[in-house]
Symmetry: C2
Subunit: 780 residues, 2 copies
């Protein structure tokens, strides 16, 4: 991967590869994937290669391929593949290729590929491909191909169309569907998911010219799940073949199609395609690029002046994917753990959203955060279902969520157990339960940062109160200690299954109940309609009794010997091994080549931070000494096998004063997707890590935190950063921040008074605040 | 394709390609496909290529992927793909490859591929792959790979296992299934078809050595529908890496598994694999090669001494595929139109079996013919269902048959209509009805040639009588002409849909009824149990009344102007166009690029012989003059767009005395699969054409025919053939024939008296008959 190909206007905006690499196919497809939240498209090349994965996902279109599998985002028809032949020879950039570049322009969200190819007979052609998934019209995929005969006359043949023969690693989600070509031009494929009965409509049109003359008599081919048009002609030396391909994708789940018949939807989609065709690639692109400019770059206004160009590129890369992955258009949809860029985790939403991605939206784009939390509100239906079926009360959020009403979607069987030769049972869907408190916590964060009272009244309180009800039904009374325990769970560190009293889980459950009690009291006091509605729905009086009974008796693991807090009841008793080999691993899961999960459970080795994430989010509950002691104890035992791990460690390191370590971890976090490990992103982007990049910058280096409802800013930039600029929303107002090594400037754009805390000192202002950081830190 | 690579013992036994060609992938996969009737395996390379189609079909395992589709042979898990890396670089024979040969040895039914490959860093390795699908143990696929480091030390990595992510062009027939690895060695994948609930069991074991040392600690990977083992090591220059992979395939439809539980079947299959592993590739291969020697080459004893080596090679190629494609082991299964070598026609059986392939088995291996006809007997259930649902009586055979009890399996929608842009409706399943008479005709042929009375008593009569019942219910009385018509059908020439009184259909229906009447009378006369059973079942008395009423009034198109028999009521009135372009077409369906099927129906153009096939099989009903006149009229209008067409024309040309044309057409028929047209076999072998090759040789050049229950032999070899040797079974006895230009020698191997006719002269002998052909023909 190359990050320095952009120059001039494009400097630090280009993620690219500068030679064809068959071993990097998966990585490039994911890292350079395109998307607009409505849909996501892996950036597989037009011409096919062995090892490629062609994916197009439309957010929220979950389906079960058969009753024994869980719902997943189905891989929709491929519209990008083209079979390109020069003099009858299949185009193959892996041979006889010069000047190969595949580049994602983050600024314009356009993928550009160009190279010169020599046929086996020695004829040279120049090719250029462009492609974008429109942020202006969420249904549009636009492609453009240009081929120039450089050295000789050549015969060109390009076959292109809609190919619905794709599947999710063999699982087929669609019926055969209907195929149609109108006027030898407009291709229509209508397919339906087999279980969820969602209709997908693909419409494609080509505009092809050869030496400026339009080709409009393609050879047409229909096969099973396939419509292909083939354009052919002879190019004289110096002439160009040009192909524009515009595709629209619609589904019956689209909001704007509500209440329509299938025929009405098809008509609508087809006429939308015809409008696109009238405009053509360039006009559509201009509108798309403008949307990115307005809705992303101008909005977030993130800038880093660093001695290392990679830093700002990584930050832009994060904002790019945060935009591409997030279904901001529809509150019935969550963010998938791999975004819309790969089959991994089947398009399901995990706690990754609430703890790793949502903070970005809460602070930078609260409307989107609101939409994502309404997704969880709608998910109460599934969460209650899950609680009931597990014998609990209230709302028990699924570890993996798909369509909000669906309940638990975690798979039951995973990787091979090297000892038994069977698949390992996946327990997360049963016992990784902290997610329920994570959602409540996120609602609280959103409320505190945005002061969105309407949201709380309509959705937020209900989530917090009902999740707290779950926890009281979940607690187990331990007669011996006289405390409430939470036994048999998985914490964030998934290497330890079936543990008792996971610290993170217990603290967060406690927090969840505490918060519910506070809101119960506030609401009751106000005697509002909200209270009466929720009291009726959730039997709050009774719930409050239970909360009061347990709140002070929930076991919260405390620092012991050497100030170490036990991650769970048995962690500290397990054996310690040399983890050097795995700490420096170059691909994930290496440890499973040597140990089965069962064997790992007897070793003090962690997949990811467990106490660190607790310290990060509940920072005021622990002293610095305790944090440092536990950091020093657990970090060496953590192999960061989860992409969620590094960003939290980076923030903690910065909090704890180790700036150079923090920066090193930040870089490592960025390199989860952007780094040299060639297989790391094959199954899709690590969206939590992408959210983590933003968090390290803003929550870490800029030191932003919401504490007790107050804004705190303790900036501590990496040494080689000259300046950091960004914006946050604070309780309805946009704040623009500029941070240098020794100065913080905050601009309140709407002149509403703001209160904030910098290094323990409180400031109040309604225009521009300038703080000397050396002073604030008490240095000098 | 190369046919002259075989030398010495292997001369004229090798079908090969001598350089890697990415455009010939599909053709080579099909033409060199392996099979044993139980299963068929396309010969895709171990290392994957763009454009390849990896298929493994197990005969008779039909399934519907969803309710809207027809049953088809599902593409079973792939066990042949290997991901091979040299120094981390994916093996790719399309570049830097020398001495590439992929060869099918017809004699031993082994596929061998070898080449020298140079890595991009310039290191040379030699590779050799071998593979067979055992005829000795029908469940075994054996593979062997050898890699030698020629120039340097190299790191080798081979990933191999079972991949069930495959589908039929996107249609998935299997549930996810169960995965297991025993002892890091025995791979087990158990999957089930989604609708027909057939369990498939795949078991695979590897034996890998590096410089003679066994590697037995593979890296194991399980993914969705996938189990992979990865073997790695470093080869010193001159050392060898060797991998043997043995796979067994079993299904719950296997006869020997009747009544077993799934667990019992799995145990059985796994222990069978372990036995194979104990033997290893070479021993298994020796037994396999012996089975081919005994059961094919020694049995059929076909030999051609021709000045052109291609002729005997083509004949062997035909016998090879006739063996590979035919599920001789199970009478519940028919021959698929593409054999077991491709997805085309979905594994369904057409009239291709009865009219093009069965003659070979009737004359050469009657037991197999019997099994194939019992498949049709079992198919009476589906045929009766089809008749009933169409408002007819008796047995109406499906145009496309799958599992015998299933009834009609023809798809409803086909290629794109270039005028409407919609898919063309396929009418064959509704109105291509001659298949019913074809089956009856085949039963009669079998009976006459084999004298297998038991078959007739148990199965044959019932087929003939019940199909005749269908025809009487199908006939339509035409008041004007005072005749019975058969309106709205498709004849063998499928370019003409919805025609009235197709000559072939009417003559064959008439034949069918006539035959039923004859057998009715014989049976009634004998007053046997058979008669009583069938009378009760089919209400024969009543059926006979209907037959007697109609038999003389069925309209049989007669020669008219210029002795031309109208193919149907309107053919001769349609316009005539210049067909030169399509007569010389280099790929199929060219005409559909210019005309829709509806437009073709108004033109005197035929897909295949219609009257020719009628003349061939009912030769005594037409004079030579009529045959010649119609040959001359229809041949120029026939574009042989069906692979069934050429062999019939070749036989007719020989019958009519044009030996050189006959030979030219024979060569063309052979070239349907063996010829240079690189796409022709992509969807699988043309099995009818393969049967046709044998028919041109034996029924054409040797002039064998059963006429009125008598054997006739009118040999007429191509001019450059010195000798033709083959065997036939005649009424229970094996006859061995040797034909030269002027002599026929027939050996009766069991010394039972044989009566036969040569050029109108009758001979009777019980030992060896020698006939001078010049004399017999009345020449000189």
């Amino acid at each position: 991967m190359k990050y320095d190909l952009g120059t001039g206007e494009e400097k630090n905006w280009i993620v690219a590869e500068s030679s064809f690499s068959s071993s990097l196919l998966g990585k490039a497809e994911a890292v350079m994937s395109l998307g607009n939240g409505y849909m996501g498209l892996r950036s597989a090349a037009e011409e096919p290669y062995v090892g490629e994965v062609r994916n197009l996902f439309v957010a929220g279109t979950f389906n079960k391929s058969d009753a024994q599998e869980v719902s997943e985002l189905p891989n929709a028809a491929d519209v990008t593949r083209m079979n390109i032949f020069i003099d009858g020879e299949r185009l193959d950039a892996s041979v006889r290729t010069e000047d190969y570049v595949r580049a994602l322009n983050l600024k314009t969200a356009e993928l550009i590929r160009s190279f010169i190819w020599t046929t086996s007979a020695g004829k040279q052609v120049a090719l250029k491909f462009r492609r974008f998934v429109s942020l202006d019209n969420l249904h549009v995929i636009a492609m453009k191909m240009e081929l120039e005969a450089l050295s000789d006359n050549v015969d060109v043949s390009v076959e292109s169309g809609v190919n619905a023969q794709v599947s999710n690693s063999g699982a087929q989600h669609f019926f055969e569907g209907e195929k149609r070509i109108y006027d030898k031009k407009y291709v229509e494929m209508v397919t339906r998911t087999v279980e969820s009965k969602i209709d997908f409509m693909f419409h494609t049109v080509h505009h092809v010219t050869l030496a400026g003359v339009e080709l409009n008599q393609p050879f047409m081919r229909m096969d099973r799940r396939l419509i292909m048009l083939s354009y052919q002609g002879t190019l004289m030396k110096g002439q160009k073949f040009s192909l524009e391909k515009l595709t629209t994708v619609h589904t019956s789940r689209d909001k704007e199609f509500k209440g329509m018949t299938l025929q009405e939807m098809r008509d609508c989609a087809l006429s939308s395609l015809k409008q696109c065709a009238a405009e053509g690639y360039e006009k559509l692109f201009a509108r798309h690029a403008r949307a990115w400019e307005q809705r992303v770059w101008k909005l977030y206004q993130l800038n880093i002046e660093s001695q290392d160009d990679f830093d700002i590129l990584a930050a832009r890369f994060a904002l790019y994917h945060l935009t591409a992955m997030t279904p901001a258009h529809d509150e019935r949809m969550g963010i998938a753990a791999k975004g819309l860029s790969g089959e991994g985790y089947q398009g399901h939403s995990f706690w990754d959203t609430e703890m790793f991605i949502l903070p970005f939206f809460i602070y930078s784009n609260p409307e989107v955060a609101r939409s994502l939390l309404i997704y969880r509100y709608l998910g109460l239906e599934g969460a209650r279902k899950k609680a009931r079926s597990n014998g609990y009360e209230g709302a028990m959020y699924p570890w993996e969520a798909a369509w909000p009403s669906d309940g638990e979607m975690a798979q039951e069987w995973g990787r091979v157990d090297i000892v038994t030769g069977k698949q390992t049972k996946i327990w997360t869907g049963f016992i990784e339960q902290h997610i329920t408190a994570d959602v409540a916590f996120a609602v609280w964060q959103y409320y505190m940062v945005t002061a969105d009272q309407a949201f709380m009244d309509d959705y937020g309180y209900e989530i917090i109160l009902d999740t707290a009800r779950f926890w009281t039904s979940r607690l187990e009374w331990d007669e011996v200690s006289g405390q409430y325990c939470i036994n048999d769970v998985i914490g964030p560190d998934e290497y330890k299954e079936h543990v008792d009293n996971n610290a993170f889980t217990n603290y967060f459950a406690h927090f969840n109940i505490q918060l519910a009690m506070e809101y119960y009291s506030n609401l009751k006091e106000s005697d509002s309609d909200v209270f009466h509605r929720l009291n009726e729905l959730l039997d709050l009086e009774h719930a409050m009794e239970a909360w009061m009974k347990c709140i002070d008796k929930i076991y919260l693991p405390q620092p012991g010997e050497g100030l170490v807090i036990p991650q769970d009841d048995t962690y500290l008793t397990k054996r310690i091994i040399d983890l050097t080999k795995y700490k420096n691993q170059t691909h994930v899961n290496t440890i499973f080549e040597d140990y089965s999960l069962e064997q790992l459970s007897d070793i003090q080795v962690s997949k990811q931070t467990d106490l660190m994430i607790l310290f990060y989010w509940l920072e005021d509950r622990f002293t610095n000494d305790v944090k440092i002691a536990n950091y020093n104890y657990y970090e060496p035992k953590t192999i960061h096998d989860s992409s969620l791990s590094l960003s939290t460690h980076a923030i903690l390191a910065n909090d704890l004063g180790d700036r150079s370590l923090a920066y090193r971890l930040f870089r490592q976090a960025c390199e989860i997707d952007l780094g040299p490990e060639m297989k790391s992103s094959d199954l899709g982007m690590h969206t939590a890590s992408i959210g983590g990049i933003w968090q390290v910058i803003v929550m870490g280096f800029a030191g932003i935190r919401m504490l007790h409802g107050e804004l705190r800013i303790n900036p501590e930039l990496p040494e080689h950063w000259n300046k950091l600029e960004f914006m946050i929303n604070w309780q309805g107002q946009r704040l623009e921040l500029e941070i240098t090594a020794d100065q913080l400037v905050v601009k309140a754009t709407e002149q509403v008074p703001v209160k904030l805390d910098v290094y323990g000192k409180e400031y109040c202002f309604d225009d521009v605040l300038t703080v000397s950081l050396t002073e604030a830190r008490g240095e000098d």
